[in-house]
C-alpha cells in the first residue's frame, strides 16, 4: 500500500469526520467558557474576601483602640463639618429661590 493509498483510506474514514460547521458544539464550548469564567471570578472574590478578613483579624485589635481615641478627639470637628456640609447642601438647593431675592451665589 503506498503512502497516498493509506492516506486516502484514513481520510475516507467518515466516522472521524465531524461537520465543518457545528453551532451546537460552539455553543457548548462557550457555555463551558462562561462557567469557567464564573468559577474563576468566584474563586477570585472568595480569596480576596478571605485575605481582607485575615488582614482585618490581625490588624484590627491594634487599630480599634486608636480609632476610638481618634474618634473622641475628632468628635467636635466631625459635628462642625457635618453641620457645615448640611448648610452648604441646603444653600445649593436654595440658589434658585435666593436668586429671586437678588442674592446670587
Amino acid at each position: 500500500m503506498s503512502e497516498d493509498a493509506l492516506k486516502a483510506l484514513l481520510q475516507a474514514d467518515a466516522s472521524a469526520q465531524p461537520p465543518a460547521r457545528d453551532i451546537g458544539f460552539v455553543i457548548a464550548v462557550m457555555q463551558k467558557v462562561e462557567r469557567r469564567r464564573f468559577l474563576d471570578n468566584l474563586a477570585w472574590w472568595i480569596s480576596g474576601a478571605a485575605a481582607v478578613i485575615a488582614v482585618m483579624g490581625v490588624v484590627m485589635p491594634y487599630l480599634a483602640p486608636a480609632f476610638i481615641t481618634l474618634g473622641d478627639a475628632l468628635l467636635p470637628a466631625v459635628i462642625i463639618l457635618s453641620v457645615a456640609g448640611m448648610v452648604a447642601v441646603g444653600v445649593w438647593y436654595l440658589r434658585p429661590a435666593l436668586r429671586d431675592f437678588g442674592i446670587r451665589i
Partner: protein, 175 residues
Amino acid sequence: MENLSHAALIRRACSGSDEAFSRLVSDSQQAVRAFVRRLAVTADDADDLTQEAFVTAWSRIDRLREGISFRTFVCGIAYRKALNDRRRFNRQVTRETQWHALTPQTASSTVDSRLSVQAALAQLPLDQRATVSLCLAGDYSHSEAAEILGLPLGTVKSHIAKAREKLTALLGVRS
C-alpha cells in the same frame, strides 16, 4: 468580525472578546475534533475532551506564541488531555483486570486481516496514532505535528514510518 484574519481574531480574543473566540472555535472545531476522535475511545468522549481543550485554550490564549496557529495550539492541549485520560483509563483497566482475574475470560480474537480503520488505529500506541492522525489523516505538516505533540521532528518522522508499517499490516492490504 466576518472578514477578520485568525491573527486579528486571536488578538481580539486575547483582549477578552468572546465573539472572536467563538469564531476561532467555529473555524477550528472540525480539525481538532477529527484529531481527537482518532485518539479517544468513543466520539462522545472525544467531543467532551475537545470542549475541555477549547476551554483550556480560552484560559491560556495569552500563551499562544506568534507563528503558531490556533488549531495547533488547541490540538497540543487536547493531546496532553488525551494522554492523561489514557493513563487514567489504563489504571482503571489494570484494577478491573485484577478484580476479574479469577473469572475465565474468552480470548479476544487476534487482529483480523480486514480491520476497520478505527480499530486498526486503536492498535497503535497513542503517540504513533497521534502522528498518523495529524500527518496522514489530517493535513498537518511534520513540524506542526512536532509542535503539537512536543516531540522532536525526527521522532515524529520515525513514528509515522513505524505506524505506516503497522497499519499496512493490520489493514491487510498488500503494497
